[in-house]
Symmetry: D2
């Protein structure tokens, strides 16, 4: 079927390529002409403006927005909505906050435009591996887009059917899932990323302890000089903690077990933060997910004001001086 | 080659079966005669006492102890050592504390007995899937046992070689690894389990937030009734958080998305605790791994004394009364 | 001076009493006639409706709302605003979310009504001890109310001036502080309560470890049967951790060291949650404050879904069964 | 009475001064001759060697060791024990691990020497304010030393008796407490310091959020430029979170609200670590106390290996680059 794609960065371009290979037609647009030209060369229909993009799409139009969350997505979705009409579908495939989805979907409902939110996981590997899709929106619009979802998702692949699922037929086994009404897709994706932070931090702490097992702070007989690259590799083979993130860890450590090319300044995207806010709204304890987020906050500072205050208190009551060495 | 196995529980018996299938000879012993009889029927050589077990083994003897950590392992290893001689090898395949390994290895060194510690992951699936083996001990003894390790481990299987490992030939790719001197195997296994706790808790918190997304505490438009079984399934397909633990989660939720058969009383084994102690000795922050451990401690109590004290303080300063409803 | 007070619960009534004793005139109103009658008997001017309340106040009117945060405060403040005029002052002395203050202050600005937010600490002790007041609003309105703040606050009392403050004259030393524009008072009070949660949890965990020092899980020679009431008391005398919360702890433990009258079901008010949200917006790590909040969430559940999922995973990979005993 | 003091650093010298003022006789020794000379000038009896120290003490001797925990204390206590005899008392007033106390007390028991462990809080303020003393040891030896404890402790002072304590006469009200058998004093002091870490971290996080309330990351209308010095001061007056640590905080912030003289490199002593180990041995959740310790670990590193691994994983799955600005 035909799909319009706005935003041809790593993710958007990868999805267009996967769709073209899957036999779909793609109308594409980006503020930068380069990726438009590039994808046109690969079989997509390039357009030079939002107006041209909209008018090139056949009705009912389906336009997928793949832009950074926040103002870029908000402005583009709203501009699109202004040019589209009843029966058309706008898909937000970025990392939007689910409450923004709810607001936008409600705003468009009156004009008959369908709003579908799709949380997408898979990163730069998705073009080959397929994208895991978490979808929110009205059933009709979601059904209409099913051929697109089926192509983008990984499909069954060689992952065996889970025992107990025989009676539970669901597209989940093909890698895409209609999770619920508007916002549900991004809600599930938000939690996905919250979990991702927690998993990453668990591995990170574990490898940090392994790495420091040669510390002279330890009793000599209990000190080990461990090969973290080989340990990551062996854990991929039959251990309980095997995962795709461990695969990537093993890959990075195989290249350089000291990770000396990284400073350790770690960004966070909105989803980790929103996950904690959701936990708090629901009164669900989320100790590990919060700690993972805070570790990233802390990684981006030289020293916190909190730490300075600890030093100041220690000096006041104990006369303790800092001596950072 | 020939291997003696003491302790024929789920793990020990599974390992014997995998070794027999791999063409090895197994001499087996257990305090309970049933599993001895059972495995004898499957091709192992059963013995009825520790003495018979030792005398049945050919020198240099290799005896694998697969018992609960603590007194059972300690007593058996020591009893074995008393009956073995120079050149013999005792393997502790359980979940011992690595400092106990160091002590035992040192104690046996004077008598020429080799002590090898093997951390084993894979659980009840290992007999088919292979066991991930983390090994500590002297190089000579570990090399001698290599045929055993090769059979127990999963081997390359269909997991593709990691880019960047071409020049880094290691048995890690076959699922077993000599990590270092005595204790190093169990040290690495300890951290493995520490990470396991963290991963499990990250998934658990995430699914808890999903599950409670229908809470009436939430604004109606932001409330979702999510299918956690399908969400676990879809995440197995192309998402960043795919893992073996997620596979097991999906399996459990497919069977019963409410998990109503579980109370949520969660045990912890020693490794999670020892991991935190190692982190503290090394001065490595291990927020997520600690929080995971504490969540288990908390799960086993009705209410903590800490919580009662919070209630008491609240009442004293604010006149707040508890009303648990 | 004259002040109107709406909301005559524990806090509101206590404040009226302290103001009356300080020579101020109080016009009072509450939905329930009992406290109105009671305070009228103590010298206040009782009123029977919001209309009467407003018309009894002399212009420029000053009306203090002391109601639960959320709908009760919102509705009352808005109803008051509808009946007041340019130059009048509405004070929200409850525990409102500071973003609500900003919104309300902006809404009233056009009509010339001043909005002042006052975070109040001191609990049921404040009537004798004085209330610590954190104030937000325009300078003019705040200055106008200064006689009221001075009476409600504890004053210098016998707390000696802090060395270094000689040149830093501030009403902070008298127990009230104009913190900034609208919302600033409740912002500071919010953080105050966030810290309060953290302090309480620190004591609670420490006493829990003391209480369990007699656990049979410990080696016999390292087991202690400690008198937690006496320990709380001795810590009040010259130790680094002396505090008012410790005083209350000592009081509670002196009465019953087992705290058997409390179940340990611990509520949380909004401020603890909002503190975490502010930390996240600012990207400030707030590990301890979050953990304190989560401990309260956890205290209100039998078992979490998270814990059930941990049990389920453990059973799947290790065949581990729960046995809660 | 007469007391010997070994170790004349800030704490030891302060205690000698307080004892001299209280009319006691002090025999003093230190490896450095300066403080010995100094205190001799103030009325103490100086000695030039451990031998002279011991022989100057009248039997039954009472020798207080006030040295850093670990080797300095261990060696001195053991050397002392070698020169002392039945009925003599050795007091360890430092910050020893309670398990070391148990070991030493047991070792000396056979020779009739009494071992008393005293956890001491109060820091550099103790000489004026009095020291809070937590005492472990046999009842007889502890009773013998009571005149010393009474002088060192703050006494009742102007702190009113706690309601409910009328029937519960205890020296706790005077600031010293016999907590239990050997090790109990240092056990209680250990938890005291664990709590101290938690309290400090709670204030530190709260002030960090206040300090960053002017962050441009916030919506303009929700941004505040707060005076943290005045806020600390106002909280000392009638608020729920008043404490001695808050007094010190207010003092430090009054001097310099930016704390620019501190880097924020925060040390930790053993007690914080041992507290966590005790919590783990008892299976008590200690989330806040652990987080406080980890914040200190983290403060002493540029970047952790954990953070580098997070960066590496992010790059592998998302192509995300670090850009620390």
């Amino acid at each position: 079927m035909q799909l319009g794609m706005i935003g041809l960065g790593r993710m958007g371009a990868g999805m267009v390529r996967r769709l073209l290979r899957g036999g779909h037609q793609c109308v594409v647009f980006d503020l930068s002409p380069d990726p438009v030209r590039q994808l046109t060369g690969e079989g997509a229909t390039g357009t030079a403006s939002l107006e041209e993009f909209v008018s090139t799409l056949r009705t009912p139009r389906a336009a997928w927005v793949m832009l950074p969350a926040g103002p870029p997505t908000e402005q583009t979705v709203m501009a699109l909505a202004g040019q589209m009409g009843s029966g058309d579908i706008i898909i937000d495939g970025g990392n939007s906050y689910y409450k923004d989805d709810v607001r936008r979907a409600t705003a468009m409902q009156g004009r008959g435009i369908h709003y579908v939110d799709v949380g997408t996981s898979g990163g730069i590997w998705g073009v080959e591996r397929g994208y895991c899709l978490m979808i929110g929106g009205e059933r009709g619009a979601v059904s209409h887009l099913e051929p697109i979802f089926k192509t983008l998702a990984p499909g069954h692949g060689n992952i065996p059917r889970m025992p107990g699922r025989e009676q539970r037929i669901s597209t989940a086994e093909e890698g895409y899932l209609h999770c619920g009404p508007p916002g549900a897709g991004h809600f599930v994706k938000m939690i996905h990323n919250g979990i991702e932070y927690g998993l990453m931090q668990a591995y990170a702490e574990g490898f940090d302890i392994l790495r420091n097992a040669d510390s002279t702070a330890l009793h000599e007989g209990h000190r080990y000089d461990l090969n973290v690259a080989d340990i990551a590799e062996v854990w991929r083979r039959g251990s309980v903690i095997g995962s795709w993130l461990l695969d990537l860890t093993a890959m990075a450590l195989a290249e350089d077990p000291t990770l000396s090319n990284y400073t350790g300044f770690v960004h966070d995207s909105g989803e980790g933060r929103w996950t904690i806010m959701a936990a708090i709204e629901e009164a669900v304890p989320a100790e590990v997910l919060s700690a993972s987020l805070y570790a990233r906050f802390r990684s981006r500072q030289g020293h916190t004001f909190a730490e300075k205050l600890l030093s100041a208190m220690r000096q006041r009551f104990g006369g303790h001086l800092e001596h950072p060495s």
